[in-house]
């Protein structure tokens, strides 16, 4: 379990001090996937850097399974992908992965096969592996970054904007690798601005603003606190649909484009709402369920 207790961190000196983290406390359970969301400059990367031992907090404490975050036993189980990949300019993709395989304590005799497997997992082909990293596009760098972070199947995975700059296929591949890690019981901390991706892979999100943890939302399981269902109907039938839903005891809030947001997202409520619309002869164009994390970014946040 990852434990963060009252962590504060300030940068700068004298009159130009920036409080990047201000008394952040949270716990991440073993096997949980936690999303860190918040505006730019909120302190998310600082929190990740503290969790990895790159920064020392001014106050508070961090631990992983009761050990200091920079303990080498923890590092041996950790995979990390920074927002900007750090690498030697003359390094090829294959050499980069081989270097991290060895640094991660991988068997030197298995380096070649491990590199090939890691590249396959993120859809990097052999010719790309032979090329120097400085010739890679941003999306390719993100893919190889995820490949190096998941070498040796770490059970602690820290990812900082892993899908930033990736094309749709890359985003899907990166998502699948995170889901793989989740399936095998790894604890994942994901910092991302790609809210639909966060929603798809995370069990829980914490919203950080001005260095403070302002909200926490559970996205999966019975305690899911933010999941919302929405039904889209033809715009001209939106009023009739609202009335039908109200009459059926399924209150819904009308939004633009014929979208009706249901008060509850559980299966029974959605099923009852669709049935009510069918009985009222209102065509249902789309039913979707989402956590609507975007609302957290609006001034005042969502209630």
């Amino acid at each position: 379990m990852i434990s963060v207790s009252g962590v504060s961190k300030t940068f700068g000196r004298f009159g130009r001090r920036t409080r990047a983290l201000d008394g952040v406390s949270l716990e991440v359970r073993r096997g949980e996937t936690l999303g860190l969301i918040g505006p730019n400059g909120a302190g998310k990367t600082t929190l990740l850097s503290c969790l990895l031992g790159f920064l020392r907090p001014d106050a508070g404490a961090l631990s992983v399974d009761g050990l200091p975050v920079d303990d080498l036993r923890i590092r041996a189980r950790t995979g990390y992908m920074p927002e900007r990949l750090g690498f030697d300019a003359d390094l090829s993709g294959a050499r980069f992965l081989a270097l991290h395989w060895r640094l991660a304590g991988g068997d030197p005799a298995r380096t070649e096969s491990a590199v090939a497997e890691a590249a396959d997992r993120v859809g990097l082909e052999r010719p790309a592996l032979a090329r120097r990293l400085k010739t890679y596009s941003r999306g390719m760098l993100q893919r190889i970054g995820v490949a190096q972070a998941t070498l040796r199947d770490p059970d602690l995975l820290f990812l900082d904007e892993p899908a930033s700059g990736a094309d749709p296929l890359g985003v899907a591949i990166i998502r699948d690798r995170i889901l793989d890690a989740r399936k095998r019981g790894a604890t994942v901390v994901l910092n991302s601005h790609q809210l639909p991706e966060v929603e798809r892979v995370c069990d829980r999100v914490v919203f950080i603003d001005h260095g403070r943890l302002t909200r926490e939302e559970t996205l999966t399981g019975e305690s899911a606190s933010r999941r919302r269902a929405a039904i889209r109907v033809p715009v001209e039938r939106a009023i009739a649909a609202s009335e039908a839903l109200a009459a059926a005891g399924c209150p819904a809030e009308a939004a633009d484009g014929g979208v009706l947001r249901l008060a509850s997202a559980d299966e029974a409520a959605v099923s009852a709402a669709v049935k009510a619309l069918a009985l009222a002869d209102v065509p249902v164009l789309e039913v979707r369920s989402s956590a609507e994390l975007e609302e957290l970014f609006r001034p005042g946040g969502a209630s």
């Binding site: 940068f11 400059g41 036993r73 590092r75 990390y80 920074p82 750090g86 030697d88 003359d90 640094l103």
Partner: protein, 238 residues
């Protein structure tokens, strides 16, 4: 880590070209003096390209965070970088020595340049002395590289050299023996310069400069480890 640094350095065509030029200069000079070691005194210049930015380069590219997220202690990382610098310097010295031999026995006689006869013990002493000088130089650069950005380690090193020289000169000009002494003591302890050639040839038995050299190398490495263990790495405050 050591292997990675050697690859980084010899992977750069500019570094290789500069080292090749320096090795040729050493070979010409050493062949002329029978490889008695004087020409090897310039070999420490190779440390400028091999030792500068050993840590700060990794910090500026962000590679250090990715490496330190692995099960590798900061001390091991630092030691690996330093051993890599020394290994690269060793390779350079071996190439320079091979060129000295080549020039002495084949190239210069072919041009009737009349070189001094090659002295293998002189060649070995020259190489060993250069390696020991480079060891202290690299420890100084490594220590400075743990907290200065880019090639600030090299700039700071030369500022210290020039500063100590100026302090002594200033003390002399102002007729202040205390200032002259302070500059001398600082130079002798921070940058001890034992006459390795004479020591290895058994021409002198004074071990005092060697003791200062050992102390300086040890102190610089310990200081580097201390600074690097305390150092923080951030890339933005997001």
């Amino acid at each position: 880590m050591a292997r990675r640094l050697v690859r980084q350095k010899f992977g750069s065509p500019i570094v290789v070209a500069l080292l090749a030029l320096l090795a040729l200069l050493i070979a010409f000079g050493a062949a002329g003096d029978g490889a008695r070691g004087r020409a090897f005194q310039t070999a420490s210049l190779a440390m400028i390209v091999l030792g500068a930015g050993a840590v700060s380069r990794d910090v500026s590219t962000g590679a250090v965070q990715m490496i330190l997220a692995r099960p590798l202690s900061r001390t091991d990382y630092l030691l690996g970088r330093w051993l890599g610098v020394l290994a690269a310097f060793g390779v350079f010295l071996a190439v320079a020595a091979a060129l000295v031999v080549l020039f002495s026995v084949a190239v210069l006689p072919a041009f009737h340049a009349g070189p001094e006869p090659l002295s293998v013990p002189g060649l070995l002493r020259g190489g060993a002395g250069a390696l020991l000088d480079g060891l202290l130089f690299s420890a100084s650069l490594l220590c400075l590289s743990t907290f200065l950005p880019g090639y600030g380690d090299l700039v700071a090193y030369f500022l210290v050299v020039v500063g100590l020289g100026s302090l002594g000169g200033l003390g002399g000009a102002l007729n202040r023996p205390a200032l002259v002494n302070a500059a001398r003591v600082a130079r002798e302890n921070l940058m001890p310069d034992p006459d390795w050639n004479a020591l290895l040839a058994g021409q002198t038995s004074s071990l005092e400069p060697v003791g200062r050299w050992v102390l300086a190398v040890t102190a610089l490495l310990l200081l580097a480890a201390l600074i690097f263990r305390r150092r923080e790495f951030a890339y933005g405050h997001d």
